[in-house]
Symmetry: C2
Subunit: 217 residues, 2 copies
């Protein structure tokens, strides 16, 4: 009798399908929920099937990071203002790191730059050189802004939501004689992560601008 066609030739898994599942789990249940077993259950597949497509979990997460950073930069194009460009790039990266607290660490610990990272670096270095910064300073400024953006955003993401309130209360409760500054300023502390991030970014950009003016004198 007629035999049915041989078993499915199309693989059920692929790198993209796995990355999609990672993102779905991370977004709905948090990054700590992304385990091989959870991934297997999400896709109705044995947990160890993942190893047919990625060497290990780190390689999978790195691929996810690359996807997220590419997505974050989609549609960016230089505006004519180096300052606006750097702000735009930093803001896009920040949003990604806020949504995925562990991403920056993964990227930093990788043993090669992600493709997305090369593209971001290219764009940011382009902005700094167009601004007129000499190459040696462009590198230092790039590293400073990159570290600031990735670092502060990751730490902001790690601090629990509504954590600011608890810290203000703790600071306000400290003895005034020993902590005169903190006592006085307590009500203002950690109110707006976003404002603090932009303040610090603008400090750096202001100083770069001042440096450029000094050099053209």
């Amino acid at each position: 009798m007629a035999r049915t066609a041989p078993e499915p030739l199309t693989p059920r898994l692929s790198r993209d399908v796995l990355i999609d599942a990672c993102l779905r789990i991370a977004d709905s249940e948090g990054p700590e929920a992304v385990t091989m077993r959870r991934l297997g259950s999400e896709l109705g597949v044995d947990p160890t099937a993942v190893y047919r497509h990625f060497r290990d979990k780190t390689e999978l997460l790195i691929a996810m990071a690359d996807r997220l950073l590419i997505e974050a930069m989609r549609g960016f194009s230089p505006s004519g203002s180096w300052r606006a460009d750097l702000r735009d790039l930093a803001t896009r990266a920040r949003r990604t790191y806020l949504a995925h607290p562990r991403l920056a660490f993964l990227v930093a610990a990788a043993d090669a730059p992600l493709p997305s990272e090369s593209r971001i670096s290219e764009m940011a270095l382009g902005a700094l050189r167009r601004a007129g910064l000499p190459d040696n300073e462009a590198v230092l400024a790039f590293q400073a802004i990159e570290g600031y953006t990735a670092g502060t955003s990751s730490l902001d993401a790690a601090s629990g939501p509504g954590g600011g309130e608890a810290w203000r209360r703790a600071f306000a409760a400290l003895p005034e004689e020993e902590f005169p500054n903190l006592s006085a300023i307590a009500p203002l502390m950690y109110r707006e992560d976003e404002a603090a991030f932009e303040f610090g970014l603008d400090l750096m950009l202001d100083a770069i601008e001042a440096r450029l003016e000094a050099e053209t004198d």
Copy 2:
């Protein structure tokens, strides 16, 4: 017959003894080696004995972080120059975060400020207020500098030693037409984490200084 004295009244464990053991293990084998079982073997004690002194592992690591930050600030005293003070505080904190890559995350995720952190905040806010910054700006500047220092240092610590060399090679190998800036600058990238950190810190301090001068005009 004479009975020996009752069993040892002095506990074999204490919070300080456990923190010491953590530091010994972290320094010699890296932070990932600090497990409850390893802690037990280090002290010749059952791994679960730790729970008599700390609620969970996080509480233990937070106590370790507090110890390290107190140690880092030992001997600091205001110099008369707000700028030198902030630089000194940031450099001390950076050294600690470089030596312990996960510390900043722990501190950020804690549900209350560490005692050491209150003291550091008090000193840094004092410097910014002495500089002449209004309170609302002092808070933002403090948060920016704190995040920059903790963030970049933690990320620098996470990147493998000698990682810079691999990244330079990868950047140099990119197609020049698509990555003109990165190709040109590749040999200069990620050469000196320390120089980049100080460059970024000085950018922020320069901008704060400029702001102060503008306000007194």
